[in-house]
């Protein structure tokens, strides 16, 4: 057994609302793996895409403020949402070699920007905790379940920011879920954009892009999708019925957060993983695979 791991935790706005099952299953998984997780008190929204779209200084300042709040809590900062992760890492990257920008941001937040290691949950599970240990923690192997791992945009792009895995051909999600005995499929759309925040302003964009993703996963023979971002989840799960209506193709494809599947494999009871919050119910699939 390695040293006991402990992290500070930035859930982000979605995980307290539309992506709550990601939060519930993250806490459940970390408890089962005996990894410490302490939420940063009074964190703010990271600004996400709308802030950096029109106001870089605001975007950097919001993230810098969150980093300074996180510095009060022990351990590297664990981030679940791919978009928050990207914004926090981008802020560190932009300020690292730009003293003038750093000065502006420090003036805006009236304080210094502390050094804090920001890690996505995938990195914590694959690298800090380790695949070997993850394999040992599995009490209910997910064998027989065919998973299409969907990365989306911000877990790997641009190459100098997330530093999570290879930019164009990552395998970190496949390796992590592979540790549970699940089968992963090879498919074309795992790095394509889902339409992200157009879900509010231009949902037609989401229906097209997310529709292509679902079609690709289905063509590869996947039983389900696995994601690590609440925005991707919203588009693929919440808007799936509309996509089916627009395209005339029935997918009925459950979209899991990676922590839901991992926690299930690590023996966390299904009732505690927020499966009932998903719009496309995964219960028939899990029953069929004898995983309930």
């Amino acid at each position: 057994m390695k040293n006991i791991l402990t992290y500070s935790y930035y859930p982000g706005c979605s995980l307290h609302a539309s992506g709550k099952e990601y939060d519930i299953s993250t806490r459940g998984l970390f408890k089962a793996l005996k990894i410490g997780l302490k939420e940063v008190p009074d964190w703010f929204c990271c600004g996400a895409t709308p802030a950096h779209n029109v106001d870089e200084l605001l975007s950097l300042s919001l993230c810098a403020k969150n980093l300074s709040l996180a510095a009060e809590v022990k351990g590297d900062l664990a981030v679940a949402c791919a978009a928050c992760f990207s914004r926090l890492k981008t802020t560190q990257h932009r300020l690292a070699d730009n003293p003038e920008k750093r000065k502006q941001v420090e003036h805006a937040i009236a304080g210094s920007v502390p050094e804090k290691k920001v890690k996505h949950l995938l990195e914590i599970l694959a690298k800090d905790y380790g695949l070997e240990q993850l394999r040992e923690a599995v009490t209910k192997p997910l064998s027989g379940l065919k998973v299409a791992c969907y990365y989306g945009c911000l877990l790997t792009r641009p190459p100098e920011v997330p530093e999570l895995d290879c930019t164009e051909a990552p395998t970190i999600m496949e390796r992590v879920i592979g540790a549970t005995g699940a089968e992963t499929v090879a498919w074309s759309h795992r790095l394509e954009c889902c339409g992200a925040n157009f879900t509010l302003s231009r949902p037609g964009v989401v229906l097209k892009l997310s529709g292509d993703i679902l079609a690709s996963a289905k063509a590869a023979g996947a039983d389900c999708l696995m994601v690590a971002c609440p925005l991707c989840h919203g588009n693929l799960d919440i808007r799936q019925a509309e996509i089916e209506e627009a395209t005339g193709i029935r997918y009925n494809m459950p979209v899991f957060y990676m922590t839901q599947l991992l926690a299930l494999a690590a023996g966390v009871p299904a009732a505690k993983l927020g499966f009932d919050s998903m719009i496309v119910s995964p219960l028939p699939l899990l029953k069929e695979k004898n995983l309930l």
Binding site: C13, S14, H16, A17, S18, G19, K20, D42, W43, F44, C45, G47, A48, T49, P50, A51, H52, N53, V54, D55, E56, L57, L58, S61, L62, K65, N98, Q104, H107, A108, I109, A110, C153, L154, R157, P158, P159, T167, E168, E192, C193, G195, A196, N197, F198, L200, S201, R202, P203, V205, K208, L209, I238, D276, S277, M278, I279
Partner: protein, 194 residues
């Protein structure tokens, strides 16, 4: 841009604007050699009247008014594929951010209003509550965009699953965020650099 007459002169080539874009984005405009890789990988190209490589060409030619008048910059999803794949290190995603900022600050002439409205409400929520209040975001968007029935069936589905909160309390440290907004505004009053 087939059949479009393009007049180039020192008057149409407002390079001050291009320099502003370069300063804001930290990326060179001149480095683009039109290989088209950004457009080939862009998931939003079919929604844009000017695809990404043409945006670069128009910028190089100082034809930025045509860019700002259109919808393309607001249809960029910030997926970062272009910046990742550019063989000559043009950070096109950052250039898109800079173009949007300049258009936003100038209350630009773009016809795309829904994306800008969504951005505005999102940022307002941060200032008022500290975090996103998804229920309010959706409801106010529908009212202000005049699409009262948009996603009408989605609301109850999400509410019944506890995915939307009817009420949302403000962060108790909300004044710290208000101060950040105020200081940035103050900085902008004193300098045109930001």
């Amino acid at each position: 841009m087939k059949n479009t007459k393009m007049t180039l002169s020192t008057e149409t080539m407002n390079l001050d604007f291009v320099r502003k874009v370069e300063a804001l984005s930290g990326s060179s405009v001149r480095r683009c050699f039109q290989c088209g890789k950004c457009t080939a990988g862009c998931p939003m190209r079919s929604f844009m009247e000017h695809p990404p490589n043409r945006i670069m060409r128009l910028l190089q030619l100082g034809q930025w008014e045509r860019i700002l008048a259109g919808r393309s910059i607001w249809y960029c999803a910030s997926c970062e594929t272009c910046s990742t794949r550019c063989p000559n290190k043009v950070d096109l995603a950052a250039i898109m951010d800079a173009l949007r900022k300049l258009s936003w600050d100038a209350n630009g002439p773009s016809k795309e209003s829904y994306v800008q409205l969504a951005n505005r409400l999102f940022i307002e929520n941060i200032k008022t509550y500290g975090r996103q209040y998804e229920m309010r975001l959706g409801a106010v968007f529908n009212v202000k965009s005049g699409q009262f029935l948009k996603d009408l069936l989605l609301g109850p589905k999400l509410l019944s699953r506890g995915k939307l909160k009817m009420f949302h309390s403000k962060n108790k440290n909300i004044t710290e965020i208000e101060n950040i907004f105020n200081r940035i505004e103050e900085m902008r009053k004193n300098s045109s650099k930001f």
